[in-house]
Subunit: 335 residues, 2 copies
């Protein structure tokens, strides 16, 4: 499996990304090869300092970087020698199976759509995110924000993409699909969501469970939760924010007195287990579904460990045949 890595993308790039590369190479489970796009001098120096073998890596020097604040389409067009564009191009040209980037979401999504291009029949690619559920399982949420404005037909396709993903990647025979709405009843929702509900209900391929409220996003009732890109983004970030906020309050509370500190020390193994069970980092990145190749978006704030997981996840993504399965399910679907 050949992966194209954007070394320069992310809040902590390039060092955190290179740390991720190193951790992946050290992991016995990883047997792929890596194409590293970025500042060749920095990469060479990192490899020398850490005494890492370059046998499974090729370095592709690039001279430009696309920042988080740049307009995606303009930046993609202007900065053809940026690490992210070059890595995307590697997938488009068949040099790599999957691009992995912690850079600008907009640039990655726009670049992938413009350069790798949509699969036949796909109206709009969707950004997915695999989340840990409170029940100890996982749920795929999509679209998490590739499309600020969705149409019912897009959402119907997102559901099929999610279905294919959970079948191929998680081996769930008939994944339960739910639609994110402001109420569980079929008649609840915006005009967009009500129209999408009708399309999902009519799609006999899907194991459609009806609407779900955002309150149950992580409850584990469904395998796939499908949403318009705007609401999906709101739901994902509101959950992340609230969970992080509660953990922050917990940390403050447990260091607020000597007694609390003693209690925390005793409870630490249990608290660590809890933290692990809700750890987003092990889920690495979110796959962009509906394009002709693998595209994995890693959280901008990713450190080495998270990026290394994303590299392993990218290998799984390619191996599982998700892209091919989506191609089969959507070819002719839009007609």
């Amino acid at each position: 499996m050949k992966l194209a890595i954007d070394i320069m993308g992310g809040d902590n790039a390039p060092i955190a990304i290179l740390d991720g590369v190193r951790l992946a190479l050290e992991n016995p489970a990883f047997d792929g090869s890596l194409q590293l796009y970025g500042d060749a001098k920095v990469i060479e120096q990192y490899f020398d300092t850490h005494k890492i073998s370059k046998s499974r890596c090729t370095i592709h020097p690039t001279t430009q970087i696309i920042g988080f604040d740049e307009h995606p389409t303009a930046a993609i067009r202007a900065k053809k020698d940026s690490s992210i564009v070059r890595a995307i191009r590697a997938v488009a040209e068949g040099e790599a199976d999957c691009v992995v980037s912690a850079g600008s979401t907009g640039a990655l999504l726009t670049g992938a759509t413009l350069i790798i291009k949509r699969q036949a029949g796909v109206l709009r690619p969707a950004l997915s995110s695999m989340l840990p559920t409170m029940a100890g399982g996982r749920v795929l949420l999509l679209d998490c924000g590739a499309n600020a404005d969705s149409k019912p037909e897009y959402i119907a396709q997102f559901a099929r993409m999610g279905h294919a993903y959970m079948r191929q990647f998680c081996h769930i025979e008939s994944p339960k699909v739910a639609l994110l709405s402001n109420g569980t009843e079929a008649e609840k929702g915006s005009e967009l969501i009500k129209a999408a509900h009708e399309l999902l209900k009519a799609d006999t391929l899907l194991n459609f469970q009806g609407n779900t409220e955002a309150r149950d996003l992580l409850a584990g009732h469904a395998d796939v939760i499908v949403a318009d890109g705007f609401s999906g983004n709101i739901a994902l970030k509101a959950s992340e924010g609230a969970a992080a906020g509660v953990m922050g309050l917990l940390k403050t509370a447990l260091s607020s007195s000597l007694r609390a500190k003693l209690g925390a020390a005793l409870a630490m193994p249990a608290l660590r287990g809890m933290k692990r069970s809700m750890d987003y980092t092990e889920y690495g990145g979110g796959a962009l579904l509906g394009v002709r190749g693998g595209v994995l978006k890693v959280h901008g704030s990713a450190q080495g460990k998270t990026f290394a997981y994303a590299i392993l996840q990218a290998v799984e993504l390619c191996r599982s045949g998700v892209v091919g399965a989506i191609g089969e399910l959507l070819r002719g679907h839009a007609d």
Copy 2:
């Protein structure tokens, strides 16, 4: 202050609601009078059993109940003698200053809009929710779901309503207003949100701070977060769900071993303080803004303590003059 109480609405009605009434009457801070709409026999019996004086209450017998699964408009029209419709009517007819109900949100919003009616200039009423922030303050989120489909002009009005609310109710001279979107940059968002952004930016009355992401909903950067009703509902419920989920995991972790239990016992005072700081129950209910009277929606799952807080909040709502201030700010605004 005269409040119309829907005794029959809510998952735990009528007993939890009557518990709330009793707790409010026992609270020295409460000096209003209560009109109780519901099954007279049940109410009388509760008062007898608990030996509560009826001096500040009047009982208004009703014969019907609107359930959570009924279609709001149809139910409002068909069940004219339901506790919720009668309580709403009391406000419409000037018999009461505010209706307080834990019943069907749809029925309360539809009933209030149809019977109490919108204030002059108001395009659409909005459901607000006061949330505790991680910084220890509070933030008003609206619309939380009164409108499944919004227009930019509605959102612009929601912002003015939120501005008036935070000025009157929380005495903040120039409340910071932010718009919920999928990115902080002005050009981020759906077409709806981008158009709303322009209107908010142009409104010189507002202290508009630009967009905020759902991740920062509870961060305490803004006093008012304004959203289209669908996204606002998603953001609110996703936050509630994630926070409840983390608290559930914490509880499980802290009872997973003898050692964890000991630690929890030591840390309990600190943990209780933390729980209190994120306690939604003290915030009672969400006010419906933009109608000609006070309307307070209490969480369907409310127990007595929460309902009692909501009764106190209803008094504050009337006393603060929020309704009048909204009337002043929106008269002629829609033209």
